[in-house]
Symmetry: D3
């Protein structure tokens, strides 16, 4: 029996969207007010889903406490109250769009989880804009 | 890398459910109070999802401003504060159930978007009733 | 010990904003697209609050089942899936703005409740626009 | 045209997580405070999805009133305000984890629905933890 | 300058409503299915508000970390994953209605907070039923 | 008849909490990770309430379009996608705590509104932390 279990988490961070090799004008043209050199920020809301089979002994797909700890170590501690461009190494050369942040989170969680689980990352940048990434 | 990005929108509209060729009794039997000839209405909440690959240069799947403009032109402007049965041509001969409204929205957005994107339309008629249509 | 208890309810209805004695142009100028003669509609979400003292024997301010029944009889049954302008007598000569709907609901509930309770009516016309009326 | 329609429902229940054949210490080690022998409880929020084709005559995938009645009979009446371990026969020998509750709900609804519909059960144990089960 | 700051918290618990000195029939008559002797449960969502003046040096009304710790010690730790009737001493002789739970929380927090703050406790028993208590 | 009408709005911004004349250590001690010199950010959600009497001719307390425009000019345009500390003059010498941001918003809106209206500002810094300011 295959099933997906989800756990929510959240972090608050500053970022800006830009490419270093582009002029300010070109960054503004492509990324609009998101390219503000002084940064802006968001409350990111995260839903992590794991698909797998249930352990018939416990009735658990995974102990959610374990998943919660992995999310805290891989996402909340390194990202929360940070400037993504300046302080998070994964974005040193990667534009921190909501798309790229979701992929970075996926890759960080993926290496900590049993390969038997399928992983889904849903990331809200605002209550109105969000992405889903499943590694496919 | 394939990913889905979502954008929310909303519109308020009046409608009634009925088939013109049926008697009032038969409409009432099938559609209940939703067949009220004087209309009732809803706040429709819409989530539009686009699945595709990320542009490695920008880190964007699509510029959400562009998607927002397409949703405004194809859905919000023609549907908001309208009577769907009376004023929206797509429902002149089509019962405006939440299922059919989602399909009409899908078809209108589909023709404005790059065929390379897979499109998902989620439409809430109330916070308790909603549909998802993916064109499959 | 004084405390306020709240109960939620909801109804879906069509309406239009206009004054019969005004020209169409003047109605459009004042009420914009809300004056559409073909009607539009909303999912109204209602929160009814009662302030009073707790019955020390039961620990209840009021039996919520009783409050739920009163809301159903006074608001949900007469308003749900109705055209407020056409079918609800209270709006025969009263513009069904969210302000006036809240006051009508307040007055209908007020006469069914013990005068010892203070009554609060919170009414959402959309998730973004709402009013609070307390009879003061 | 294939589409999925969703309907929400809810029930409040007590439960505990444990295996009868395990010692109290082992139950505490595996299930933590969820194994409290005096029970704890949740507001379970349920989203039932049906995937199928739309009836071209009505524009309905299914009459939601029918789905609502089935959910009330199979889930709300037997589960609401109950102790899942003590009073719900399906959990007499099955640990009522959110995973197992979702599967039980799926199986109960599945036998009441046309086999032509694909069924999806999403169950929130808290606003932060939830599962999706599709019978695959 | 007086202002109110709010912090949310939550706990999951089992309870039943009844008076020990009443017969089962009388308890059922007054409290309905909430009097189930096997208990049921809820996800309680709590909003604690403090009204006071802002410290001009910090711009804080209170350090929210301090408020969070007090809520954890006074409410979350003693109530979460507990049976309120059986395990929480305050309800040994007090019916754990949502009204009474809010008052107990208010009294526990009140004694830990500077008397200069006005305290507001909002407690959701379900997303549809909630109370506000301000000690007046 | 006095009533309060509310309108929601939102903006995304970066900020840090600190006092320039304090050492980094003291700022860290008082403001914790919120004092990060590289900034972090939030999606601020705003609810503006106006209390007054209803115009009997229109049934409006205020034309919400007018209120929406004032909020856009006074709050959304100057604050959205900005660094509050660096780019918003009101915070040049004022710590941008959620308390102070609410007061600044109140003062900006207050001077644009008819003195006959009582004004309420509710500002969410995160879904879990928020303030209410009423000018009292």
């Amino acid at each position: 029996m295959s099933l997906t279990i989800y756990r929510k988490a959240h972090f608050n961070a500053a970022h800006r969207l830009y490419r270093e090799e582009w002029s300010d004008d070109r960054n503004l043209e492509v990324f609009g007010k998101c390219s503000n050199p002084n940064f802006h920020g968001h409350n990111y809301e995260l839903e992590v889903g794991l698909t797998g089979t249930i352990d018939p002994e416990t009735g658990y797909l995974i102990d959610l406490k374990l998943l919660k700890d992995i999310i805290r170590e891989e996402v909340e501690e390194p990202f929360d109250h940070k400037n993504l461009n300046v302080e998070v190494p994964e974005f040193a050369n990667l534009n921190p769009t909501v798309e790229n942040i979701a992929i970075v989170i996926y890759n960080k969680l993926r290496q900590r989880l049993d390969p038997g689980f399928k992983l889904t990352v849903k990331l809200y940048e605002t209550p109105r804009n969000f992405v889903v990434y499943t590694g496919d």
